[in-house]
Amino acid sequence: MDLALPLAAWLVPVLVVGGVVLGLVADALDRRPSAIVLIALGLGGASVAGFVLSGSTQPGIAMGVLAYGSGFTALPALGYGLAALAVIAGFRRYATADRGPGMAALIALGSVFAHALLAGLDLIVLFVSLSGLAVVAYALVAGAGTRRAEESAVRYFVQGTIASGLTLYGLALVFGLTGGDASFLTGSSALGSVESRPALLALALVLSAFAFKLGAFPFHAWVPDAYENADSTSAAFLSSVPKLAALVALLVIVRGTLFQADLFASATSLLVAIGVGSLLFGSFGMVRQQSVARLLGYSGIAQVGYGLLAISSGDAGIQATIVFIVTYAVGASAAFIALEAVGRVRPEWDGTRAGMAGIARRSPLLGVALTVAMLSLTGIPLFAGFWGKLHVFAALLSNDSVVLAIVAGVAAVVSFGGYGSVIRAAYFEDSNVNDDETVGEWGGSPLVVSIVLALAILALGIVPLLTGISRVYALFSL
C-alpha cells in the first residue's frame, strides 16, 4: 500500500473536505457568508483540479478500491462543478438562513459521496456511498424548512429505509456469492460460476437499489415530492450529481465489472423494463403539471429512462450513457437554478407555470436561460441535450431495437408538452402581475449561474457540430 499515490487519487476529495471543514469553522465563528464562500471555493477548486488531473494522469486504482484518471476523475469533477454552482446560486439563501452553511456543507459532502459511488470498485465503498447520499438527500429535502418539505423528507425517509434494507440484502448476497471478496474486479469471475438462482436475486436487488437512487419507474415515488418541496438549489444538486454518479456506477457494475457473465444476460431486459417504465411515466406525468419544480421532477424520471435504455444497449451504450448523463446533469441543474432565479425576480412566485407568466419580458436573460435549459432537456439540436438523445438513439439502433428508439422518440415529443408549456408561460402569456412595482430585483447570483450554465449548454450543443463528438466527450470516457 504505497502512500505515494498520484495526485489525482486523493487531492480532489481532500480539497472539498478541507473547504467544508473551514466553512463549518467559519460558521461556528458566526461568519456565515465567508463559510459559504469557503465551501464554494473548496468545491470549485476540486472541480478545476479534477478536470486538470483527469487529462494528465495515467488511469489506475488507488488502494484497490478507488479508480482514478480520465473519466473516473473528470466525471466527479463535473459533479463538484455543478455542486459549486448550486452553492453559489444559493448564496443569498444559505448566507441568511441560520442552517445555511450546514446545507452548503451537505451539498459538498454529498458530492464527495457521489465521487466515491462513481469511482468506487468495492462493495463496501458502494454501500457507504449509497447510504451517505441517501442521508444527505433526506437532510437537504428537510432543510427547506417548510412544512411540506419536512413531510416530503419523512416520506422520502420511509421509502429510503426499505430501499437501503433491500440494498444491503442484495450486497450481502453478492458478498456471499463472491466468497467474501468485496472487490468488483476479482469478484466478477467468482460470480460467473455460481448457481444462477441466488445470483439473479442478487442482481435484481442491486438493480432496485440503483433504481431507487435514480428515481426510476417502480421506485420513483419520492422524486416529484422531493424536487417540488426542496429549495431550488438543493433540488438542482439532487437532480444532477447523485443521478450522474448512480448511473455511471450502475454502468460500471453491469457492463464493466460485477455482472459480466452471460448468466446475467437478463440484466439488459430488466434495465429496458425499468427504463421504458420511467420514460413513459415521466413524460406523460409531466404534461399536466402546474408546478414547474414538480414538472421537472417528472422530467427527471423520464430522463433516467433514457439513461437506463442507454446502459441496456450493450457496448455501444457505454459512450451513449456517458454523453447522455453529462448533458442531462448540466441541463437539469440549469433548469432548477433558473427556477431559483425566477424566485428572485418575482418573489411572490407561487411555483406554478401561470405564476411565472411573461417573466421573459421582465428579465430577457432569464427567459433565454430557461428556454435553453428546457430545449436541452427536450433534446432539440443546437443544445447539449440533443447529443445525449442522439447517442441513445444510435446505441439502441446499433443493436437494432428500433421499437425502443421509436418509443424514446415519442416520449421526447410528449415531454415537449411539459417543457414547451414552461417556455410558453415565460414568453407568450401576458403577466397579470405588473412586475415593475414588485420588490424582485434583476436576479442576483442564481441568474448569473443559470446564464453560465446556459452558455455551457449552448457550447456543448454547438461545438460537437464543428469538431465531432469524440473530441469533446473523450474527456469523460472511462
Partner: protein, 487 residues
Amino acid sequence: MTLALLIAIPLAGALVSAVVGRSTAVARIIALAASLGTAGVAAVVWQAYASSAEALTYEFTMDGAGSFLRLAADGLSVPLVALTALLGIIAVLASWNVERIGTHMSLLLALEAAVIGVFLAADLILFYVAWEAVLIPMFFLIGGWGHENRRYAAMKFFIYTFAGSALMLVGLVLLVVLGGTGTGMPATPLPIEPASQTLVFWLLAAGLLVKIPVVPLHTWLPDAHVEAPTAGSIMLAGVLLKMGAYGIARISIPYTPDAFAAAAPILAALGVIGIVYGAAMALGQCDLKRLVAYSSVAHMGFVVLGLASGTELGLQGAMLGMVSHGLVAGLLFFLVGALYERAHTRDIGAFGGLGVTLPRWATIFVVASLASLGLPGLSGFPGEFASVVAGFGRFGFVIAVAGIGIVLAGAYTLRAVRLVVHGEPAATQAPADGLQPAALRDLDARELLIAVPLVALIVALGIWPRLVTDIAAATLGALASLAGTVS
C-alpha cells in the same frame, strides 16, 4: 468557403440585431444588410455552380477531428437557397414597422440561416440539426408576434413537426448505422440494403411528409399561418414547406430507392388528395390567410405528385413547383399582411371593391391569384404542367382526379378575387369594425419595392422555366435514374 458564408452572414446578422435591436433604425439596417449580403453570396454560388456544373463542397475541419459541418450545393439546393435568400430580403422589408423589431429581425435571420443550413447540409446529422433549428425561431415568431390564439398555434406547430422529426431522427440514425459510411452524404450516395429500406423510408417520411404538408398531417399549417406575422408567413410558406420535398429528393430517393419506387403510388395518391382536398378546403375559407394556407397544401400536392412520378420531367416539375410556390405564396402573404396592417381584419367578407379603392394592391393581387391558379405565362403553370404530365405518364388515369383540384383551384382563387377586388367599394357595404375605405391607403414605395420584383420573377419563370430547370437538370437527371424510371 462561400457556402459557409451563406450561413454565417444571417447568423451574424441575427446575433447583432438581437443584441443591438433596441433602436428600430439600427435593427432595420442590420437586418437588411445581412439579408442583402446573403442574397449576394447566393448569387455568386448560383453563378459558380452554373459555370462549373459540379457540386461545390465545403467541410469545416479543425485539426483533424471529424466534423459534422459538411456543406454541398448542387442542382437541387442552389435554386432553393437562392429562393430562401430572396424571400429573406422580402421578409425583412415586410416587417419594417413591427414592434420589438430587434428580436423579430434576429429570429427572422436565424430562421433564414437554419433553412439555408438544411438546403446545404451534406451531412445527415447537420441536416437534422438544421431541420430542428428551423423550429425554434419559427416557434417564437408565431408565439411572440401572433394574434389571438398564437400560443395554441405555436405549440401545435412545434409539437406536430417535432413529432414527425423525432421519427425522422430514428430513421436518419438507422440510415447512418446501416450505411456504415459515417454521417457524411457523398455526392452519389449508395443505397442501403433493400430489406430495411422500407422501414427507413417510412420513418423518414414521417418527418418529411408532416413538413410538406401532406393531407392527413396538415392541420398545423392553417393555424400556424393565421397566427404568424407577415414575415413569418412569407418564410413559412415560401421555404419551410420546401424542406419536406427537398428531404425526399435529397435523402429518400438516393438512400432508399427501391422503397421509394414501391411507395411512389402512395405518394402520388397523397399528392393528388392534397391537390383536391386543399383546393376544396380553400374554397370554404373566409379568412384570407387560411385560404392561402390551404392553397399551399394544394400547390405542394403538385410537388409531391411530381416527385412521386420519379421521372426527370416530374422532378423538374416538382422543383419548379417549389420555387414558384415560394414566390407566389410569398407575394400573396405579403399582400394579405399589408391589407391586415391597414384594415386589421383578414375576413374576406369585410372587403369588396378594392379594385377601386386600392388599384395598385388589386392589380398585383389579381396577378398573384392568376399565378396561384396556374395560368400559363406565370410561374405556377410550368411546375403543375410537368408534374401532371409526368404523374400521368407514370400512374395513368387515376391522376385525372387532380383535374378536379385544378378546376377548384380556379374556383377558390377567383372567388377570393371576386369578393375582395370586385364588387362595389366597401363604402356601400357595412364597414367591418369601422373600416372606412378612405382609411385604406394604396401600396407605398417600400411595398412596391417588394411586390414588383416578385411579379417580374413570377412572369419570367412562367415564360422561361429553364431559368431554374437548367441549373437543376444534372442533379435531377441523376436522381431520376436512381428512382428507377427515367422517362
